[in-house]
């Protein structure tokens, strides 16, 4: 969709945009299936994707522009908590310049993701690359699927 660079927030098009988001929220569930009970509203920061492999649970949190040192990652009772803060710069003095759009998230955030498998809390690795935090939590040996040999 085209917008000009110089549209002020809160205009008519923003209303359309909001309407679109509302519609998405109403209808998207029918195609996307069940959500996590800890899922948050669309557009919340950071968005999270979760996948599992036979060895681990993989969590991808889309958090561009966050200083990894400011992140607080913790794991308790199978719940992974990601907390931190994102500060966004305001490159102009608002009195001298103009601000047309401020859509990017700014401020503290916290997300809780249920890993629900038997995770070994000592075997969690996290890596931040291109604005995506990837947490790999290895399952305890006992819960890994075992191939049973048929004799």
């Amino acid at each position: 969709m085209f917008g000009t660079l110089t549209t002020f927030p809160g205009g008519l098009f923003n209303d359309f945009d909001r309407l679109q988001r509302e519609l998405d929220r109403l209808f998207v569930d029918s195609v996307s299936g069940p959500a996590s009970i800890r899922a948050v509203a669309r557009g919340s920061f950071p968005a999270v994707n979760v996948g599992v492999t036979p060895e681990a649970v993989e969590v991808y949190a889309f958090m561009p522009g966050v200083d990894p040192k400011s992140l607080d990652l913790s794991m308790q009772d199978g719940l992974l908590t990601l907390a931190g803060e994102r500060t966004t710069e305001a490159p102009v003095d608002e009195a001298k310049g103009s601000v047309y759009q401020k859509e990017r998230f700014s401020g503290p955030f916290k997300r809780v993701v249920s890993l629900s498998e038997d995770i070994d809390p000592d075997k969690i690795e996290a890596r931040y690359e291109n604005g995506v935090l990837h947490v790999r939590a290895l399952k305890k040996a006992a819960v890994k699927p075992k191939q049973i040999e048929i004799k």
């Binding site: 660079l5 110089t6 959500a35 996948g51 993989e58 047309y100 859509e103």
Partner: protein, 128 residues
């Protein structure tokens, strides 16, 4: 399957219809010398980012890729579309030739300077 497979891969339909894209959130500021556009493009590397100006249309496009293991089974995903796209119409006083782009930690910062002729000039007021 490559290990650069995206967790949120959404294939284009067999009919070749265009792939759905995500509209990245932006901040846009203007000062006397130009306009700054900041866009969130998590998962996009420098190589997968495309910023182009065609006539007066500025388009930001990027493909997100996350290194997911090949045998991953998606539990749930909030980001389902691995492609970002957003376009803007530039105005005449902006100098599209001199756009600077920086990408860091999934945040794109574009600086679009105004052409010299378009910068505001202070008008001297003469007193008698």
């Amino acid at each position: 399957m490559s290990d650069k497979q995206s967790l949120s891969t959404q294939k284009a339909g067999a009919s070749g219809e265009p792939m759905a894209t995500l509209r990245p959130p932006v901040d846009i500021f203007e000062d006397e010398a130009g306009i700054t556009v900041i866009a969130d493009l998590p998962g996009v590397s420098k190589e997968a980012l495309n910023v182009k100006v065609d006539g007066d249309a500025l388009t930001i496009e990027g493909d997100a890729s996350i290194a997911a293991p090949a045998d991953i089974e998606v539990r749930y995903s909030e980001v389902r579309t691995p492609r970002y796209r957003r376009s803007f119409t530039l105005s005449r006083e902006l100098d599209a030739e001199k756009i600077e782009a920086h990408l860091r930690d999934g945040v794109l910062k574009l600086r679009i300077p105004k052409s010299d002729a378009a910068r505001p000039k202070r008008i001297e007021i003469q007193t008698a």
